[in-house]
């Protein structure tokens, strides 16, 4: 399975679909149960953000192979309002989710690589990768 698979996120049920997709792909790649849980949670958080702040968007998941090193990449895309202060949003302690360590800094720590691009009134693209250990 080399092709990227995507899930449209428009409502809360789609969050579950995205999780399912992620879990299946992670299992297939050989990720252990903890990493499966981490990947799935990262997908949840990103999908939730799309649902809560952008209204709609998509989560795409693809297996990747870099010089023999295998991993899974998640890309969350939306055409929502964008993030005005990326720096603030990536700070611990700054939260709109009730302060439980979740949010984007939380996602960053669940995964191995993380990048974010956002433009106000245009949209947001977040990419996160986890490597097989």
């Amino acid at each position: 399975m080399d092709i990227q698979s995507c899930v449209e996120v428009r409502n809360e049920w789609d969050i579950v679909s995205a999780r399912q997709l992620g879990r299946n792909m992670a299992k297939e790649l050989g990720f252990g149960n903890v990493d499966q849980a981490r990947i799935t949670t990262a997908i949840s958080e990103l999908a939730r953000n799309i649902y809560l702040y952008a209204g709609r968007g998509k989560i795409c998941i693809e297996p990747i192979d870099q010089l023999g090193r295998k991993g899974l990449r998640i890309v969350a895309l939306d055409n929502g309002p964008g993030i005005r202060e990326i720096r603030k949003v990536m700070e611990d302690g700054y939260t709109t989710s009730g302060g439980l360590g979740a949010g984007l800094p939380g996602v960053k720590r669940l995964m191995d690589e993380f990048s974010i691009e956002s433009t106000v009134d245009v949209g947001t693209e977040i990419s996160a990768t986890k490597w097989l250990r």
Partner: protein
């Protein structure tokens, strides 16, 4: 064997021992083991996964439901993992901030230290202790010509913003030609500077006085500062040292009233910040009379000893935890 394998093996050993013989000792060992795990930065979900792995080894015939329940627990643990990792990160951040504050505090020490000058006629004692790392109380002695001027100020707000404000006063004071200044005029000048430069919720209380050795007169003025005391040796009585005036920074046009007192041999001028009178003990607030009686008790000692003893006693009464920055200054006329 990797570190992870070693931990897994250890966990398995501890768990199997416990399952055979449920002793407090093993439970205690389990708790100590979690310290090791934390040292290795094993997160909550890692621990659940470790448990699953070990249970699989110990009970290969474990029921499917039991097995599945652990998977469910793993998912639920992820939330705790979030909080744990954020906590780690915040602790690191806090340590960094602490060390930055240390640097700022020691810079402040260097910039704002005011030596207690030697002055022929007066025996001077000073104690100024911050409640937190940075001191919001300010005091300054300046010898110019034959006179000695003394200022005490309290910047409202605590902590870093207050201390930054203080630096501003010090520089404003250093650049005003103090010799020509009468205390009430200095306050008027300073008030204008403060009013223009501080946040609307900040203000500064201040007392400023100048002692002239030829006339033995002490000229002074106050801007909303906690009244000090004056000890009249002849009457053997303490009085409040009142210098009414509006705190600095409220209104650009505030004017201050000049006061003066004749200082006889043996008289004392006692200046303080409200950290002294805001002392709260288990019984309630320290009253001004109690501060006076503490001073009276130590009266015959050199001024520095008096202030130190009074501070120690009040510190002790407060359980060694200052609520506010504490400043106490005593000037005693010797000759």
């Amino acid at each position: 064997m990797t570190a992870k394998d070693a931990l897994t093996e250890r966990y398995q050993d501890l768990l199997s021992v416990y399952l055979k013989v449920k002793t407090e000792t093993t439970l205690y060992k389990g708790q100590q083991f979690s310290r090791k795990l934390l040292e290795q930065q094993i997160s909550p979900e890692d621990l659940v996964s470790l448990h699953i792995q070990v249970m699989d080894q110990l009970f290969p015939d474990m029921s499917e439901e039991m097995r599945d329940s652990f998977d469910f627990l793993l998912e639920a643990m992820i939330g705790y993992g979030f909080a744990y990792r954020e906590h780690q990160s915040l602790r690191d951040k806090q340590q960094q901030l602490e060390s930055e504050i240390e640097v700022a505090a020691s810079m402040q020490q260097t910039l704002l230290v005011s030596d207690v000058p030697g002055f022929d006629q007066l025996d001077i004692g000073v104690v100024s202790v911050p409640a937190k790392k940075m001191n919001g109380d300010y005091y300054n002695f300046v010898k110019s010509g034959n006179s000695l001027s003394v200022a005490v100020a309290d910047i409202i707000g605590k902590g870093i913003p207050a201390a930054l404000c203080m630096s501003m006063i010090k520089y404003a004071m250093d650049s005003l030609p103090e010799e020509q200044m009468k205390p009430h005029l200095l306050l008027e000048n300073l008030n204008r500077v403060v009013e223009q430069n501080v946040h609307s919720n900040m203000f500064i209380t201040m007392f400023h006085g100048v002692y002239e050795p030829e006339s033995h007169k002490f000229h002074y003025a106050g801007a909303g500062h906690e009244p000090g005391f004056f000890y009249n040796a002849k009457e053997d009585e303490f009085h409040d040292l009142i210098a009414k005036g509006l705190v600095l920074g409220v209104s650009r046009t505030t004017t201050y009233h000049p006061y003066e007192k004749l200082i006889e041999v043996g008289d004392m001028i006692i200046l303080l910040s409200d950290g002294v009178t805001e002392c709260r003990t288990s019984k309630g607030f320290i009253e001004r009379e109690e501060v006076v009686s503490l001073i009276r008790k130590n009266m015959d000692l050199p001024s520095q000893k008096i202030v130190e003893n009074v501070f120690q006693e009040l510190d002790r009464l407060q359980g060694f935890e200052l609520r506010d920055d504490f400043t106490l200054i005593i000037l005693k006329r010797l000759v």
